[in-house]
Symmetry: C2
């Protein structure tokens, strides 16, 4: 069968790319392991189900303060079974919607492992078909990394693949890894009444250099206040299951006895067993596919997007790179891969959003940096909503006025950051943000105030975070 | 006493202007009726307390569906007293913060009515002082309009000034006026268990031409579903209080018996008794102060901002105009008054946000209009949050690709709209929004999808709203 484009992998990147390619007039086919994996990790075992549970956790937190609004609940019971059922229903609905929609617009999905046979052919194992195409887009995603000997047993020790099958809340759990996934699960389980120990080998949670230390520290304080037991500079030495309990030996010599361990320690790209080597698609030492700024690999007809192109494993990065690749296939060169301006959102006890450089990164790059920081403590909308915590931090180049980065912690940070994403991508300066219009009362006002602080110094209602 | 600038009115516009003027190096004084009215209508009897109650209503709605997240509350009781106390505490906190802050940075507040004595003098009644200044900024705001004979009695019949003193929920109430204020109160009281009748004289709620009919209808359906009894094309003929009940005779011949009537029928500008006529500041027939695009009145040293300059009585419009006025005082001409691109947010059973032109307005102005509409029904983040209702509607000029308007109904519409506000103000086109980056999953994605629809037609997960 012949196509303009065959996309290997129907995760976030693959399916967004297939819709875009279809829109742009290309004849597209999708290859995906099985009908149950359409949507990839994000949909089936990642952002979508975790955001569902995180919203539940957020609602429990709101419920615990609802008396401030004259509502007095007479207690509540928790039930993971219905949480899980409703969560899984959302996942299945999105997955089935997508399959139906692909069928409706005439995009075939071939099930099985897609293997590159030559620069214009994908062999689909399982379906046993060969798909010919002018272009191939690899969007095969990533898999959970293991941590030495520590592996999911699907019962007492879980990774972020197996945790979704959990049918009851543990009483006490230990999470290994204080990155984005670790802090999200810590918040979720804690709000659902679980005693949570969060173990992180580095000296702070969210140890990525893209997240300012202030954001990490602010979140850490809140998690602790909610009762999460955070252990920094600590690693897991060994784990053993005895009589239904997990005995975890930590690097500080302590032993913790828990009902469940969750490993949240990163992912590795799926770049093996798909024929890359056979046709000469180059990889780097870490196993990522090498691509140019149009997401084109060393074989010109083969493109790649998402988790297999760099350590920045975010669904929207993949979705964007899919568009970059397809635009380039169509002869356009204005869209480019751009890891630097990809926004990153962490959903935990706060939403923690970052785009661009931190203050430290900007200084390391030689910028003379000005920073505007506005706290939500005195933001009227945040006060009305009972969520006046967090801040907006805007990092600006003193010389040019260009916005180098923005870091928001607090309510709706994950949506608010888009204002700055657009403005940065348009090359507009901080002054533009200070002179734009913000509705009153709104959380967005803090963005304009932070921009004004850059120009006029720290005068506003707000204290520094 | 001599100042660079005297601002008459310490409402949203006045106090934002005073901070901005201070930042820009001007020596400023504020004049306000009394210590209790600092913050103006928005803070004391408008957006701030109403948004507090609206958040409570929203939480009750969430609570009614929280079982989907495995949380089973054992019922709840309602208590307006603690709602009111906590609401008023937020208002007082913001007011006192502001006064303390003004004192801290050396801005004096003179209490009493400010009256223009000449083009550079404000006489403060009550304080009995004369303030001399190079410039005067009038920010005196507006007052509730009356509806013929119908007036607040502070007990059975309330307006939006007196309603805040209410200490108990009525069993059954009737709201006169289906505009922004009417639909907000209808939602609030309905969620707190009150039987609400909403009477609107026009053939739709939110009758302003700036709000698309689709937004109004979508909100109307939800209010009805929640049990609000909406009566369109209906007016109140008469009202009488007998034995603690209000008998309301409607234009359709029906009589309703309720515990409380709320009049939500608009406001009139405070432009009388402040000396405008004495020094020759011109007003229009409706009583608004005439200003040029720099908010300067017919007397060059006197500026005006906010509710007294036009029917668009929004706090942020006033805050923006204050900045426009001060920039002009400083000799700058790049900031201009601009009623057209002021975003409008309604907080009711949904957030309803609008900026720029509706489809109808754009067609009336002769544009060849393209519209992109994306529903939240299939937005993954909205599904995770259990709020997958509403839509983004983007109105674009086919010829230029310029964005003419954007109308969002649904979760967080009031924050999301700012993305489009910035992009419109920067003169960026719809194509820019379609090519920007949106995190996944996010509500913001719908904005990018609506922009893509404009270019490529309606293909996406979403159905039309």
């Amino acid at each position: 069968m012949e196509f303009d484009l065959v996309i290997v992998g129907a995760g976030s990147g693959g399916y967004e790319a297939c819709l875009y390619a279809h829109r742009r007039g290309l004849k597209v086919a999708l290859v995906e392991l099985s009908p149950e994996t359409v949507g990839g990790n994000c949909l089936n075992r990642g952002c979508i189900p975790s955001k569902y549970m995180r919203h539940g956790a957020y609602l429990i937190e709101k419920l615990n303060h609802i008396k401030n609004y004259g509502v007095h609940p007479q207690g509540y019971t928790l039930d993971m079974k219905s949480l899980k059922e409703n969560r899984d229903r959302v996942v299945v609905t999105i997955r089935e919607n997508f399959k139906r929609f692909a069928e409706h617009i005439g995009i075939p999905i071939f099930y099985g492992r897609g293997i590159l046979e030559d620069r214009n052919t994908v062999y689909v194992e399982g379906s046993d078909v060969k798909l010919k195409a002018r272009f191939i887009l690899l969007a095969t995603g990533s898999s959970v990394a293991s941590l030495g000997d520590l592996k999911s047993d699907g019962k007492y020790i879980h990774d972020t693949d197996s945790i979704w099958s959990l049918e009851e809340f543990p009483k006490r759990m230990l999470i290994v890894g204080g990155g984005a996934v670790g802090v999200e699960f810590a918040y979720i389980y804690r709000m659902y009444g679980v005693d949570v120990i969060l173990v992180e080998i580095k000296d702070r949670i969210l140890p990525s250099p893209d997240i300012p230390e202030d954001s990490a520290r602010y979140l850490g304080r809140k998690l602790k206040k909610l009762g999460v037991d955070i252990r920094l500079k600590t690693s897991v030495q060994s784990c053993s299951v005895v009589d239904g309990k997990v005995y975890v030996n930590l690097s500080d010599g302590k032993q913790e006895v828990v009902d469940l361990v969750l490993l949240a320690v990163g992912r590795t790209p799926n770049t093996s067993y798909i024929g890359l080597e056979d046709i000469g698609v180059e990889k780097d030492q870490k196993g990522f596919v090498k691509v140019n700024s149009y997401c084109q690999t060393s074989v010109s007809s083969v493109y790649a997007c998402g988790d297999i192109t760099s350590q920045l494993m975010l669904a929207h990065k993949s979705m964007y790179e899919g568009k970059v690749a397809i635009s380039h296939m169509l002869g356009e060169t204005d869209l480019k891969k751009d890891d630097r301006w990809v926004p990153k959102i962490i959903y935990s006890a706060y939403e923690v959003a970052s785009v661009g450089l931190t203050e430290e990164q900007a200084e390391d790059e030689g910028y003379d940096v000005k920073v505007g920081v506005v706290s939500y403590v005195t933001n009227p909308k945040a006060m009305d909503d009972g969520e006046n915590e967090g801040f907006v931090r805007l990092v600006v180049d003193s010389d040019s006025g260009n916005i180098l980065g923005c870091h928001i912690v607090g309510p709706n940070a994950g949506e608010l950051i888009h204002q700055v994403v657009h403005v940065m991508r348009a090359g507009l300066k901080a002054d533009f943000l200070s002179r734009s219009m913000y509705t009153h009362p709104s959380l967005s006002e803090a963005i304009g105030q932070a921009a004004s602080e850059v120009h006029y110094g720290p005068i506003s209602w707000s204290r520094r975070a």
